[in-house]
Amino acid sequence: MRPVRLALASALLGILGLAACGQAQDPAPSAPSSASASSAASAFPVTVEAGNGQVTIERRPERIVSLSPTATETLFAIGAGPQVVAVDERSNHPPEAPKTSLSGFKPNVEAIVEYKPDLVVIASDIDDIAAKLSKVNVPVLVEPSATDFDDAYDQILDLGTATGNADRARRLVDEMRRELDRLAAEAPKEKRLSYYHELDVTPYSVTSNTFIGRVYGLFGLVNIADRAPDAAGGYPRLSAEFIAKADPDLIFLATTKCCGQNRDTLAKRPGWSGLSAIKNDRVINLDDDIASRWGPRVVDLARTVSDAVRKAAG
């Protein structure tokens, strides 16, 4: 039994590691204008290229079920909020999203069908959920965790097209791109500050090849986790001793909500009290949710990082 649990645990760790990312900073629009809605309606049927291949949507969806917190944030940010009838238990943003007990980790076909959806969005095709829902003629978009910005933008555009909000989606992506470019241009990159991002207190971290790692990459930061060999994957479990010896300039904690971590709890860890990031108050508390999604709120994350970097360099 134990070996099976080990395998399960590694699989889960992988999923959770990936599932860790994004949300939208601007509030959902009151409602799509009638003009754009009608023009969007005429665009159907549409076909989008999602994680589960080409998906054709016949009519503008009016009963969307989102089982992905990132997709929920995106849907509300592009004005598809009024079309959403149910979101999963982890979709905690924006607050007006119709949260239910549906699960994106253990999707239940019957529970989903209860909401009579005409579109289901999920981050991972667990238990063949896409095929099962197709059997009852519900189109499914699988939008897996993004690996880079283009991937994240693509998903926003996908959701725009699929829900008849293509214009809003394009505007959102342009805005995000502009803001990230601006923040990146302002960054004092010549300082080559080093950082450690904590994903889990074990401690697991992230390399620069992950989505979140690329956010830090915008600011010319050096990731200490990159010294782990490729075989350790994008989410390596680092040695506490290594982190202390590397003594990063900045420490970003994505373990504030899950595990109540902050500068004081870090200082109490064995051997860590002398870390310069702790002494110089360069420990940044991130919102675990924002730091683990790949939606519109990645801009908020980038702003937090930008502020921290400028403070540290100044």
Binding site: R237, S239, K257, P270
Partner: protein, 346 residues
């Protein structure tokens, strides 16, 4: 599958010396190696400096010194304690149940600890949950075994078979409850599984917390070698020789469970050490429990220190979960045991 009947007498001293040397070598290697590169001479001098009444200049930077004394040294000592406790507990269980596949988690210690840790992580917010893990694991492990024991007693007449079956029932039941609780808060899954995979990153504080239990349990087990040898000839025969079978079994079970709980409290669930090490010892040094118990204690400690060294260095500065390393070695070993069912060493 029976353990060998009263084995030939052998001297305990040579294998004991070999084990001590192996353990010392593993510990030195463990202390000298790590993700943070430190000079060998500096490490040795700093360790010497740490001894009472000795004062030498190690030449290590203050940061390196604190890494060595607050991270690496407690980690190696945690591996020593956990490996030794699990192996000696496994040997004790194997003696009581006269079953070579008995391991320290047989009676629900692992499932009880797993449930208690899950409850702590799910219901205590943030840092409080993290801080409560060791105590929860200890209490859960003890609770699981007591539950199995109470159930086994009420169902049978103290036979070991009933007890094992009660352990199986308790294990499945507690694991089911754990899975259910986990469903309530699926986002905490990762923390629970990180614990299940085992972690030797100990601290002086945690070592101090388990030290009394560990010491009592280990001494109690070591004192029962001769009685376990007598027990291995069978209950009736042992009773005929004047041994109070029920009491011996109870004391050994209690001590082994206490040792397991202490190990689980600081390290999570580390598989196979408790099964593999006593068997290696038996093959190399004979089947008498007067040999098997002390050599398992030392051998288990050396094995886990070495396994942790592998876990820390193979992908440095990343680490493998210790449970993966021990299982990777342990699983093939299991196959080897099954292929050679006849016990060796008489």
């Amino acid at each position: 599958m029976r353990a060998p009947v009263v084995p030939a007498r052998r001297s305990l001293l040579p294998p004991l010396l070999v084990s001590v040397v192996l353990l010392a070598a593993a510990m030195v290697a463990g202390l000298l190696t790590g993700a943070a590169d430190m000079p060998v001479r500096g490490v040795l001098l700093a360790l010497l400096d740490g001894l009472p009444f000795v004062s030498v200049d190690s030449g290590l930077a203050p940061v390196e010194r604190s890494l060595l004394l607050e991270l690496r040294l407690p980690r190696v000592l945690t591996a020593v304690a956990v490996g030794g406790l699990l192996a000696v507990a496994g040997a004790g269980y194997q003696g009581v149940f006269r079953n070579p596949l008995a391991d320290p988690y047989l009676l629900g210690a692992a499932a009880g600890a797993g449930l208690a840790v899950t409850l702590a992580v799910v219901f205590l917010p943030g840092e409080a949950g993290t801080a409560a893990i060791p105590a929860a694991a200890f209490a859960g492990a003890v609770g699981g075994v007591l539950l199995a024991y109470a159930l086994g007693r009420s169902a049978g007449r103290g036979g070991t078979a009933t007890l094992v079956l009660a352990g199986v029932a308790v294990m499945s039941f507690l694991t089911a409850v754990q899975t259910f609780v986990q469903q309530l808060k699926v986002e905490e899954l990762q923390r629970v599984y990180a614990w299940i995979l085992g972690d030797l990153g100990g601290s002086w504080e945690r070592l101090g917390m388990i030290a009394p239990y560990a010491a009592v349990a280990a001494v109690a087990l070591l004192l029962h070698g001769r009685l376990l040898d007598v027990l291995s000839v069978g209950d009736e025969e042992a009773a005929g020789l004047g041994v109070h079978v029920g009491r011996v079994r109870l004391v050994v079970l209690f001590a082994a469970s206490l040792a397991t709980a202490a190990a689980v409290a600081v390290s999570g669930l580390i598989g196979f050490v408790g099964v593999v090490v006593p068997h290696v010892v038996r093959r190399l040094a004979g089947g008498s429990y007067r040999m098997v118990l002390p050599l398992s204690l030392l051998g288990g400690a050396a094995f886990l220190v070495a396994a942790d060294l592998v876990a820390r260095t193979v992908m440095a500065p990343a680490e493998l979960p210790i449970g993966v390393v021990t299982a990777f070695v342990g699983a093939p070993f299991f196959v080897a045991i099954l292929r050679a069912t006849r016990p060796v060493g008489t």
